[in-house]
Every structure is written in C-alpha cells, then in structure tokens.
C-alpha cells in the first residue's frame, strides 16, 4: 500500500468538501435535523413511557449513533458516486492504484465526512436536551468503531453493486440502511421483535451495539463482552464486504463496465 496515493485520493475529497460551503452545510444539516426530531420524540417518551422513565436521552443517544452509522455508509457511497457523476471513474481506474488503496482512502475520508456532520449535532444536543453521548465514556469509542466498520461494510457492498449494476444501483445506496433499521433494534429492545426475527437480528452487530447502549444508560454498567461480539461481527461483515467488492471489480473488468460506467 502506498500512503501517498491514499493521501491523494483523500485529498480529492477534501478539496471537494473544502471548496463548497453548501456541501459542508449538507453534511451538518441532516444530523442536526435528526437530533431535533428525535430529541422531541424522546422527550415525549420520557414523559409518558414507563420503560424509559428516568432514562432521558436513550432514544436521542440511539438516534445519534444510528445517524453515525447512516452517515458513514452514505459518505462512502457518495464518494464513489461522485466519481461516477463527474465521469472521473475511468481516470481513477487507469491510475496506478490498487483496489486496497481505493478502499482505504474511501474508509479514511468517510470518517472525516461523518464526523463533520455528527460532531455539531452531538454538541447541539447537550444544551438543547441535556443529552450528551459523551457520557457513555470510553465504551462510546468502541461502539462507534463497531458502527463505523459496519457502516463502511454497507458502503462497500453498495459500491460493489454500483460496479456490478452501474449507476442504476444508486437508489439502493440511499435505501440500504432503511432495510436494516427495523432488524437493528435501534430504538427498542430485541424482545419486541417476533421470535423468528430475533435470531436473524442477532446476526447483525447493530442489535448488540444498541442493546449495550441501553445497558450502559439504564444500568450504568458496561458489558465489554457484548461490545467485543459486536466488533467481531462487524469485522466478519467487513471482510465479506471486501471480498464482494473485489469480485464486483473483477466482474466489471470481465463485463467491460469500468470504461463506460458513467454513461
């Protein structure tokens, strides 16, 4: 791996973000809107639901972390789509860059794009609703690592789809996370799901991440075992995502779609 090339790929997106105020605003706007929305919803639940009694901020914290997952995945897809939309795709793939360098650059840049959007939203939630995800302490870092790996994995799978099916796969890019949200048990415990779906849900890292989030906030204890399980599952999915991406790349070379993907 050549870190200069990875830096160059990241630089391309830094230039893009730096040069466009609306783009920065767009990154910040949606997470902030989410915080407002879920802030009010969670306030309502705290006042009326016995489950969430005295646990202000559970839903809002879950919303912030879910948005972190959503942003990391969408950021990944967006950077890939930007290359297709700008018809730069062929230039990129004839440059002497390894696929692993492209994946690394997208992964690194996605975290910056995600944090640009999320940090202001997370900070706004503190004075506005008295909710700080930073109260989760050190476990927050591990929960975010797990979410980020899974978000990037979803990004990898969608970009693999873009390589395989072309820009028409774009709609799946936007919808991908909504498919998983109900199974992820983001705002409710896993017991809410029907029995036959619970087994399936446990195969996703999201269930473990958000169960642990609630455990920390409600019981004030940390179960590192759950965090390790979530990170392990995320890494397994990530490896799967990388393999699928490589297969899509070699498939695209075979089908000849790399040369005219933007057309």
């Amino acid at each position: 791996m050549n870190w200069n090339k990875i830096f160059a790929l990241c630089l391309r997106h830094v230039y893009l973000i730096k040069g466009s105020f609306p783009r920065i605003l767009d990154l910040i706007y949606w997470p902030t809107i989410q915080i407002f929305l879920w802030g009010f919803i969670s306030k309502f639940f705290t006042l009326t639901s016995s489950y969430y009694e005295n646990t202000v901020g559970i839903i809002l914290s879950a919303a912030i972390l879910y948005d972190f997952l959503f942003r990391s995945s969408i950021s990944y897809n967006m950077m890939f789509l930007e290359e297709i939309w700008s018809r730069n795709f062929t230039n990129l793939f004839i440059a002497p860059i390894k696929i692993s360098e492209i994946i690394t650059a997208l992964t690194i840049t996605a975290i910056f794009r995600t944090l640009i959007g999320l940090l202001p939203a997370a900070l706004i939630a503190i004075p506005l609703f008295g909710v700080s995800i930073f109260k989760l302490g050190i476990p927050l870092i591990f929960l975010m690592i797990s979410l980020y790996i899974f978000g990037v994995t979803l990004g990898l799978l969608v970009t693999a789809g873009l390589l395989r099916y072309g820009p028409s796969f774009e709609n799946i890019a936007w919808a991908s996370l909504f498919f998983l949200a109900p199974l992820g048990c983001i705002y409710y415990p896993i017991e809410i799901l029907p029995d036959f779906l619970q087994g399936l849900a446990k195969l996703l890292p999201l269930v473990h991440i958000f169960e642990e989030l609630r455990n920390i906030l409600i019981n004030n204890t940390v179960n590192f075992n759950t965090i390790v399980i979530s990170i392990t599952i995320s890494i397994i999915y990530f490896i799967f995502g990388v393999v699928i991406f490589y297969l899509a790349y070699f498939g695209a070379k075979k089908r000849g779609t790399l040369i005219n993907i933007g057309e």
Partner: protein, 244 residues
Amino acid sequence: MKLEVINISKKFNNIFAVKDISFTIDKNKTMGLLGPNGCGKTTSIGMMLGLISPSSGKIIIDNKELNSKNRIELLGSINFASPYIELPKKLTVFQNLNVYAKLYGVKNASQRIDEMIENLNLKDFVYKKNGELSSGQKNRVSLAKSLINKPKLLFLDEPTASLDPDVGDYVRTFLENYKSQNELTILLASHNMAEVERLCDNIVMMKKGKIIDRGSCKALIEKHGRKNLEDTFLKLARNKDELE
C-alpha cells in the same frame, strides 16, 4: 515503450466485440486506430489499459505481459485522454493536476504541474473549477493530466473531438512538439482523418471487431486508389467484404 497486441478477442454475451486482433507499435511511433462507431476501438483500448479482461490473447508492453500482477507497475508509465471522460468538475485545474500527480507518484510534482501549466497554456484558468471551463480548455487540462506522469505510452481516444479547428490544431501541434522532445509511443483512435494523416506513422483499420487493413497512410491510400485517407476510410467502412 513498445506495445504488442497478440490475438486478443473480447466476447460479451457470446458475441465478439473484438475478434483476434494483433498489431505492434514500435517505441516512439504513433499508430492510428480507425474504424466506424461500434467497431471495437474503445473495447480494444480498454483491454490495453487493463480495464477490460480479454477473453483471449495477450497484451505485451515493453516485453512484459499485462496481467493483474504487473498492471499497477505498467500503468505508472501509461496514460489516457478522451473527451468522453472528465476530471472532477468541482475541483480546480490545479487541484486536479495535484491529485493526479500524487496518484501517479510524480517526483517534483509542483515542478511538473508548472511545466504542464506553461506548456499547455493553462495559466489563465488554473484556479478555475474544471466544470467552469470551455470544451477547448477542458481538453487541454485533460491532456495535461494525461502527460502529468511523463508517460511512455499514451492512449488518445478522439482527442480533438468537438473542438473548433483552431483549438484542434493547437492540440495537434502540441502533441507533435511534445513527441519530438520526449520518448512517447501513441495509440490514437480518431475519426478525424486529417489528424491521423498528420500524426500517425501507421494505421490499423477495424470493422466489426476485426482488423480489415493496416499500413502507412500513404500506402493505404495508394493501395485502395483513393485521393486521401477520408476516401480510403469510406471505401473500407462501406465495403461488405473483409480485406484481411
């Protein structure tokens, strides 16, 4: 760099897009790749750039067979320009050249970018976004990107398509001058026959995925008893019989 294409074919859904083509471009020579739309030129270039896997055959660049193991190494000395691909519209000319200089691992990148700005006369719009440029300006920037790594092998796909005669002539003159001062082998796909006559040492004519004739421009014109390359192209493109 010497480019040897040996019996390459490409099938899509069991239909040949390119069938068993072979040719060689010697070091520092320019070869024209001609043929009607859909004859397989872009697919052939895609295979030579390693973007498309051939169904069969070999591509040898400087005595090394292009494969997934050495593709990255070989691509460092190759580049490509086409009006059908673009650089990111939201980045300035300088930012685009800077990104590509780094991607190609260009040593003394700033010096090379300055050379390209000077040689291709990009100074007036170097800090403008690529999307704000005219076709002629974009074309020059695209050419600058394709030469940023001082390639030894350059693929040009209709480099002057959609340019006015003045800018088209500027690009052709630039390429002639650049080639006289640098070691560079060129494969030029073009529909502009005057351009091909001016720039190419040899040409290969394709039709329906196959090579139907080849030779120097002069030899082909004489062989087919036509006045110029345009008439020769028309004769070959419209002829139902395949010559080779």
